[in-house]
């Protein structure tokens, strides 16, 4: 018997009991729909977040942080290590040490309340230099950004985010030149950042001050929280990282790399990590959704067993007419697989539809730049998994059917 005719026989068998077949595949439909939805939304979230990070920070940006690379929760304290100082910046700035370095910027940060007249607002601040505008893709909407002179002269100037402006000032008020108090010291507003809107990384709620000023007047520290370096091209990023390591080790008198009191990460590392985290989360959710497939599979097995018992006489007849045990087994196995495959297909269609609607509403109502992506891999996985569920849970009933003796089966009432 050809495969196409076997499928025809299977479909005919299922059609004889339409409503039961439909109810049977419901579990598979729901399971595959859930997997498709989770994987599609997970892919969408990953694209969105990774895209945000890439848009925000250039790929040539390298971050040097103090302390050991955090490997566990206790290592978090090394973030407050004071190992990065001005002499490191000086050493790194020498062309002979790091030839492919194009920009270098020390970074300090914290959170302080800001006061303007009677208004108070808690905002994060970054001690930066003029190089930050380029490195972090910062655009100034009004006024100007920090300059080299501001940094050198310990100027008490500040560039504020749009949210900070909204909180402290009334609408339409001219803020350039106004003085605000940060930790009791007056800062003159020289610029307002362009509004970025919603997103995962945003300076809307932050302020930028010269890092020299921030160190001396706000934080009262001599070290840096990070040193940001930009390589002159993408190809030189790897070489630059090596040069940075060598230079800082020399400057800190470290011979054993195991004892490094700093660590270096790149934008690529960060992207990779964020991507991995989202993928793991997505996978986890998909596995949870897959449990419903097992439940669906058990349902199919149950119904197939009932069907085998109900059709005992049919099995006996087919055997009397020349069907081998293998013929009978395939007939019932194909019925189970056809059921699950149809369920899988419906699940893929429903899952795509729901995730499309979800991405549509996320873009419209949450104002996110969310793109619908049809998860081809999830669709293939869905088809594969539903086929396997059919095979796995159809096998036992099919073997039971094949085992029946023709005479016993024919006598069955």
């Amino acid at each position: 018997m050809t495969l196409s005719y076997s499928f025809k026989t299977a479909v005919a068998g299922l059609k004889r009991n339409k409503s039961r077949s439909v109810l049977t595949i419901l579990g598979i439909v729901i399971g595959i729909t859930a997997i498709m939805l989770v994987m599609s939304l997970g892919q969408g979230a990953k694209n969105l977040i990774v895209g945000e990070i890439q848009g925000q920070v250039g790929s040539r940006v390298i971050e040097i942080a103090p302390g050991k690379q955090p490997k566990g929760p206790t290592d978090i304290f090394s973030m407050f290590s004071d190992s990065l100082k001005q002499k490191d910046v000086d050493a790194l700035s020498q062309k002979s040490n790091v030839p492919y370095l194009s920009k270098i910027m020390p970074l300090v940060f914290g959170s302080e309340s800001v006061v303007y007249e009677s208004e108070t607002y808690q905002a994060s601040f970054y001690g930066m230099s003029d190089a930050a505008a380029n490195m972090y893709n910062i655009t100034v909407g009004e006024g100007r950004f920090l300059t080299e002179d501001d940094v050198k002269g310990y100027a008490s100037v500040v560039v504020i985010g749009s949210k900070v402006q909204e909180e402290l000032f009334s609408e339409g008020e001219d803020v350039i030149g106004k003085k605000i108090k940060i930790k009791g010291k007056n800062f003159r507003i020289i610029g307002v950042l362009e509004k970025k809107g919603s997103g995962f990384i945003s300076f809307d709620n932050a302020m930028a001050v010269p890092y020299t000023t921030a160190q001396q007047y706000i934080l009262g520290i001599k070290y840096f929280n990070e040193i940001i370096v930009e390589a002159d091209s993408d190809e030189h990023v790897a070489q630059t990282i090596e040069d940075l390591k060598t230079t800082i080790r020399n400057s800190h008198n470290i011979t054993d790399p195991e004892k490094d009191d700093f660590y270096i990460s790149t934008q690529a590392d960060a992207l990779k990590m964020v991507g991995t985290v989202i993928s793991i989360l997505t996978l986890f959710l998909a596995v949870v959704a897959a449990i419903s497939l097992v439940v669906g599979g058990v349902g199919i097995m149950n119904i197939m067993l009932v069907s085998v018992t109900e059709r005992t006489r049919e099995i006996g007849l087919r055997k009397a007419l020349g069907a081998t045990p293998a013929n009978i087994m395939w007939q019932f196995l194909l019925e189970a697989v056809t059921l699950t495959l149809v369920g899988g297909l419906i699940g893929i269609i429903l899952g795509s539809l729901f995730s499309f609607l979800a991405s549509l509403s996320l873009s419209i109502f949450a104002n996110l730049n969310w793109e619908f992506s049809f998860p081809v891999s999830a669709a293939l996985l869905g088809i594969g998994v539903s086929g396997i569920v059919g095979l796995a849970f159809g096998l036992y009933p099919a073997r039971e059917a094949a085992k029946k003796s023709p005479m016993e089966a024919l006598r069955y009432e």
Binding site: M1, T9, R16, R318, L321, A323, N327, P406, M407, L410
Partner: protein, 238 residues
């Protein structure tokens, strides 16, 4: 000899109770014979048919089908012989519900090695032989009892078997439809030389055969030629 059985016994083991369904039965059936097996219910006549038709295996003794020892066949070989050499007609018709006459008759072809493109032609030929061409797309529920049994005969004929086993084929039919069915069996025997084994408990039906084997309590009580054989087509003329 198409069928040779010698000292054939069949024992059922059912919850530690042994039932001797057939006890040392021996007889031969020639190709082209029309034999009726008679006996009261529980006599073992159905068991005999199941063993002869390869639907069940015997416990001891010898059964040669077409000169070959049936005990040596594997499950798949038995299935193949049932498919190609034997046709079955049952009391309860055993047609697939909600399946057309044509598809029902095609059923044995599914398990044969005949190419799919010949299936329709063969099935239609068999349906024509039982005079049901006008019912070809009907489903069993739309047919009368006699018509259902004729579909079953067409299904038994579709692979041109040497022998047809009919297990109480008239048991669920009124006497007129019963006569039609017996008439068809007689015609198949006389015009095409097919071997027919008919199981019945009605003497009148059995006397359409050439020979009657009486089974009682698993043993053969008598094995005789029918002297005044009934002819189904003559009965119709009356």
């Amino acid at each position: 000899m198409l069928i040779q059985i010698k000292n054939l016994s069949k024992v059922y083991h059912d919850e530690e109770v042994e039932t001797m369904a057939l006890n040392n039965v021996s007889f031969n059936i020639k190709e082209g014979e029309f034999v009726a097996i008679m006996g009261p219910s529980g006599s073992g006549k159905s068991t005999l048919l199941h063993v002869l038709g390869f639907l069940d295996r015997h416990s001891s003794g010898e059964y040669l089908f077409d000169g070959k020892d049936s005990g040596r066949y594997s499950e798949n070989e038995l299935a193949r012989i049932r498919n190609r050499e034997m046709g079955f007609v049952f009391q309860a018709f055993n047609l697939l519900a909600r399946t057309s006459v044509l598809e029902n008759v095609k059923l044995p072809l599914l398990y044969s090695d005949i190419p799919q493109k010949k299936w329709d032609t063969l099935a239609k030929k068999a349906i024509e032989a039982v005079d049901l061409s006008h019912r070809i797309n009907h489903e069993p529920a739309q047919l009368s009892g006699g018509e259902k049994q004729r579909v079953a005969i067409a299904r038994a004929l579709v692979l041109d078997p040497k022998i047809i086993f009919a297990d109480e084929p008239t048991g669920n039919l009124d006497s007129k439809s019963g006569k039609t069915v017996i008439g068809i069996l007689q015609k198949l025997n006389e015009e095409q030389g097919r071997t027919i084994i008919l199981i019945t408990h009605e003497t009148n039906t059995a006397e359409h055969a050439q020979r009657i084997i009486h089974v009682v309590d698993g043993e053969i009580e008598s094995d005789r030629e029918v002297k005044n054989r009934h002819k189904a087509d003559e009965e119709f003329k009356k």
